[in-house]
Amino acid sequence: MGTHRFVSCLLLYGGLLLGASVLAQSPPRYGVGRTPTAEELRALDISIGPDGAELPPGRGTAKEGAQLFTSKGCAACHGANGTGGRAPELKSKDGPGVDTWERGRILPVRAPFATTVWDYINRAMPLGREGTLTPNEVYSLTAFLLSINEVIPEDQVLDDQSLPKVKMPIGNNYASLPDWKPNTRRLRGYPY
């Protein structure tokens, strides 16, 4: 009897330990859904974060980007040198000496990370043929846009290592993001 109790205690204790370690991994509750393959994950994960972890291998320069800017049709909407077209301005009229917030909402100038520029060209350009650019082409076009705005030198090679290291003009000169919590007013001290 005593032994039985001891054994069942052990089982219970062991079971709890097992339960705890499984909880740390939180088991699926419904068992619905399928595990994506590594290939599916790679193909779909086009969000490029500031550290560039998701960047594919590749390289490009402003010189190559300048040619692509015309051959891929970018210039037709954005203007020959990224300015004066129907689509958003891509070249700042002001030099790097002017405060970034005064230079207008120009992606390769105001974006806090070069990865933001790469990400948008890759996911959303050119209009009507989105997703058709190769990684090398996206690196080249990014280099071109950063170069014409004097963010990087004309001869700098951009790749998955150098792109996240580019120092953008805005630096960290932007307001911290909302520290949102449920059931909380938008702004402390703001009665509205």
Binding site: G33, E40, L44, A111, N183, Y192
Partner: protein
């Protein structure tokens, strides 16, 4: 001619009602003279999927001065006719539309569509629409409002000043249910949601929001989400600015930092106070009747009717002023206010025929009160009329002595 006939008919009807109680037989000749209505001939399409009466002509309009659709068929912003709204649900056909840029509406086969959840999880998972419909669901009323829903002196109607908000009943699976199924790992602080349309619109949002009340919605107003609203899946992000409610949802990634994708960079501010207003929509109300562009036929009784909503939760109180803010009275709720949903209010009013200004202001469950433009200008020390964040200020409607209603900001 038509109006004379209506007058005569109404006279006959009221006469009939008066006499009806006394002698039934006396009514008959009057009824016999009432012309019967024409009929709508039944046809297969009308039986399969009904239409509204052709006498009802309320429609959406392009918003912000850009044509929609444009000559290529691209869709831009489109505003809801709030001036004709009743109750709190916007019919799906009249729900406002906004796109991250002018775009074609993607024609997605729901059998081919997948939602992938990955990043800081124990198990990345891919769901079909059928998978999602097997899981425990929620059905909730929620508004959406575009950050650009701003009243200007140029607005001639409430559709132009406030039409970029709508409210629908959304059905789907809580995002938190799906994230628990994947197992959250390593303390993510943000998540990225992404659509399947040509621009692959993506936004970073606080992880706390994902675990709070975000819905992966496949249903809207009792049927599948409409293509203009994100068919077959829309991420419904209650109370946040409309752009976060990601259409054509194909991917959710849990991450440990703000990802600074294109939409994110567009939200950057140089001032922390402005930035803090960026996600959650403030308390807001507007009188839909009478509103600018409408015409009161004369003095006498009217029920003032309007909508109130807040990204902070449920509306607790709506007050109405019929004398430009000198006196305020509590409005009555039509139904129970739902959290982060349009709430219909009403207020009796006897118009004396004199020029006046109508106002409404609301208070939400957090105690936030809808401000006037003067209060906003004072708090932020900005010129009158400048409103940081989504414009939630009180809208004045000016009633002229001839019964015409105009924008009080004009």
């Amino acid at each position: 001619m038509g109006s004379r006939r209506r007058d005569r008919r109404e006279l006959l009807k009221s006469g009939a009602a008066m006499v009806g109680g006394l002698t039934f037989g006396a009514v008959m000749p009057a009824m016999g003279q009432t012309p019967s209505p024409t009929f709508i001939r039944g046809n297969k399409d009308q039986i399969a999927y009904g239409d509204r009466s052709h006498f009802v002509t309320s429609v959406r309009i392009p918003h912000g001065g850009r044509p929609s659709p444009d000559p290529f068929g691209l869709v831009f912003h489109v505003a809801t006719p709030l001036q004709d709204s009743v109750g709190v649900i916007t019919p799906s056909s009249l729900h406002y539309v906004a796109t991250t840029r002018g775009s074609f509406i993607p024609d997605i086969d729901p059998r081919e569509h997948r939602l992938m959840i990955h990043g800081m999880v124990d198990r990345p998972l891919t769901f079909t629409i059928e998978d999602l419909k097997r899981l425990p669901s929620v059905t909730r009323l929620h508004f959406i409002e575009c950050a650009g829903n701003r009243s200007t002196p140029r607005a001639k109607t409430i559709q132009e000043s406030h039409g970029m908000t709508s409210c629908a009943e959304w059905t789907g699976v809580l995002l938190s249910t799906l994230l628990k199924e994947c197992g959250v790992k390593g303390g993510p602080s943000w998540f990225v949601a992404e659509g399947a349309e040509e621009v692959k619109g993506a936004s970073s949002m606080p992880f706390a929001k994902a675990m709070d009340d975000v819905i992966v919605a496949y249903g809207m107003n009792g049927e599948a989400v409409r293509p203009q609203q994100g068919f077959p899946l829309r991420l419904m992000v209650p109370g946040f600015e409309g752009i976060f409610s990601t259409k054509y949802l194909r991917r959710v990634k849990l991450v440990d930092r703000y990802y600074m994708n294109y939409n994110d960079y567009g939200h950057l501010q140089d001032d922390a106070k402005n930035a803090a207003l960026g996600y959650q929509v403030g308390p807001k109300s507007v009188i839909t009747f009478p509103s600018a562009g409408q015409q009161l036929p004369g003095k006498g009784f009217y029920e003032i009717s309007g909508l109130a909503w807040s990204g902070g939760g449920a509306i607790r109180r709506v007050e109405v002023s019929t004398d430009d803010g000198k006196h305020w009275m509590d409005a009555e709720f039509k139904g129970t206010p739902q959290r982060k949903a349009h709430t219909r209010f009403g207020c009796p009013w006897n118009w004396d025929g004199k020029e006046t200004v109508l106002l409404s202001r609301c208070t939400d469950e957090l105690g936030q009160v809808q401000p006037t433009r003067a209060q906003v200008a004072k708090f932020f020390n900005v010129p009158l009329g400048e409103v940081p964040g989504l414009d939630n200020t009180i809208q004045p409607w000016r009633i002229a002595s001839d019964g015409s209603v105009q924008n009080g900001h004009a």
